[in-house]
């Protein structure tokens, strides 16, 4: 089974994500912000040890503390089976869906559209450790700081921001 995306499939996915979650003058489009990298990291999660499914913790290092998000967490043996099954299914869906895309990106099933849209949202607004949200461009566009530990916020920032 092929895992991950070919260069052609990657270009198609970027275009499709940019159509579903487009950008404008102030916000990046999902594809341009690393959306395909996000999907590819998930589709090839088991090429890494530990698999790139669950980022580590407790801190990213962006707000103090030792950076540990890239210390990916181990899966249990049954979790490995479940995620291998899920990712095999995702690979099949992506390969079939992207290979059948027409030039206007119109040849798309509702199911595949929903899958790509979900991953576009995860990519653009999830933590950059998962491959998307390039240089935190998705968060910056919506004025979102993302994680805040271990600094957090003061009581004043919560009650009277």
């Amino acid at each position: 089974m092929q895992t991950g995306l070919t260069p052609t499939q990657t270009l198609s996915l970027i275009a499709l994500m940019n159509k579903l979650v487009p950008g404008d003058d102030l916000s990046p489009a999902a594809g341009d912000s690393g959306g395909a990298e996000y999907v590819n990291m998930l589709l090839t999660a088991f090429d890494y040890d530990p698999p790139h499914i669950w980022a580590g913790g407790p801190f990213s290092g962006r707000h103090g503390g030792a950076a540990s998000f890239e210390n990916w967490l181990e899966l249990g043996p049954w979790e490995i089976l479940a995620w291998k099954s899920r990712i095999e299914d995702l690979n099949n869906q992506y390969h079939a869906g992207l290979d059948s895309l027409g030039p206007e990106l119109a040849e798309i099933s509702d199911e595949f559209r929903e899958l790509v849209f979900t991953h576009a949202c995860e990519a653009l607004y999830g933590d950059p450790v998962y491959g998307g949200n390039r240089e935190m461009s998705g968060w910056l566009a919506i004025d979102y700081r993302g994680d805040s530990q271990p600094k957090g916020y003061t009581d004043q920032e919560v009650s009277a921001p």
Binding site: S60, G126, Y130, I142, S159
Partner: protein, 579 residues
Amino acid sequence: MMLGAVDGVDADAIIIGSGPGGAAVAHSLTQAGWSVILLEKGRNHLLSLQAPFAPLGHFSNDEIKFTQRHFLGPDPILEPRTFRRSLADGDRLLTGEVNNLPSTLGGGGVHADGKLPRFREIDFALRSELGPVEGADIADWPVSYADLEPYYAEAEQLVGVAGEETNPFAAWRSGPFPMPPGADMFGAQISSAAAERAGLHPYRAPTGVNSVEYQGRPACNNCGFCAFYGCPIEAKGDPVGMLRAALETGRCQIIPSAYATEITTDPARTRATGVRYLDLSVAPNAQGDAAVRELRAHHLVLAGGAFETPRLLLRNELGNSSGRVGQHLMFHFQTLVVGAFRERLWGASRGRSVTHLHDDHIDGDSASRAAAQAAGLPWIRGGIVEHGSSTGPVNEALLQGAGPHHPLAMRNSELRERLWVFTMQGEDLSQQSNCVDLDPTVRDAWGFAAGRVTYQPHQHELVTSNHVAPILEGVLRDAGAVWTAGSTSPPVGDHAGASPMGLAPASYHIMGTAKMGFDPLNSVVDPTSRLWDLPNVIIADSSVFPTSTGYGPTLTLVALATRAARLLTGNPLRQSQPT
């Protein structure tokens, strides 16, 4: 090596489930000198099981891991559940995630944002105080608030509850909250002021989140990732405090990834002798099967929650001489009213998830009594209303939908930073037909029948929701909302066929499937939480609730679990007095 391997047993007690109830029992029994083995079906992401039992550091501010990738389990590929509204839906309406409380060490306590109110005197005597409702099973509890008050006080100390005595509807207390309340959310101040203008009585929520350093755990630093997330700094009073204290006695062994499948008994099936479980920490064998282990104990404690506990009993055909195991399933019927504001409320990114509540719709007023009468009901009762925030940006983006509007909609953030939400956890009347049972064909990864929910609300819940929702919309408009909208979970009426929250109840407050009572003919456990049929088995979760009340169940289930454990060891607390 097992603990207490004497008298042919591995421990004095085996506890199945490590959520707030199981953790409370582990704490209480070990403090009394008993040895316990605690089995948890899910993984351990909570704390090292070696002294000094430090945090594992797996929890983080990570929306992908916690909301999109089943980190706290259960994974629906391994453990599907099914749902139907009634027999008319056939064997099932959907298969997958149904009320999936976390399956992980610490259970539901890990993901909860820890609103921990007590019930009130009337909640334990609803039948006596208000009388029956046609089509529902309104029962008095076999314990009173006075019976439970000392255990409430102990539970608040064990978990660490921050709060203040300003709720005019609250029951009496024997002492103050262990901690003062934490920081008020900006949006909650606005919604509370409007609620007061409407004649309501908002108050700072009792919350199991540290407002100051407490028992070696730090104060909350308001990171904004509370509900649905494990706390990276252990500021949440989830079961970690009780589990760590139990481990520190040297009399508690915790076994994660241990799926209890069989309760072993004596030949007459009148006493439990132990448990067989699947060891999910090791890979399956060549045939794809999990390793089977067996433990023996003098006592067994079921604390898997109101979904998994009846599933285990039904699978083993135990404890069910009344025929009531799995029946009388209750959720809280959720009425959700949202308001969009022009100003940024910061609720989705700073502080805890909910800092204020109001209780006014529980007892109601002349208008609610008129609404009940108009509907032909003797009475209606709502529930606590949570003044809270919404969700993270990934989930907001999914709600905003695809298309050219998306980038501007996300910057405006009407569904996140400018949204305020009232969630009423409405009392759900007990109905015998609402149940958890075993799906006839869907199986989990190990070949056991999936749990199936059959549930539809009583007219009471619909009438109450219809009465309260416009009041809440009015409060939000007065607070400054430019638009408001209401919905329910489960969806009903014109929206019954579709909801972004799903067709099954979204509430994680699951209760009543092994209810407590005076009469073994119509209840599953006795007033001390022992199974009528197997007296050396106690249930220590919200299965035992005879009614749902309109309050979150966690503190009450911890209090009941502590009481059951203390009665088991002959060490009950003395009756308390108001201060």
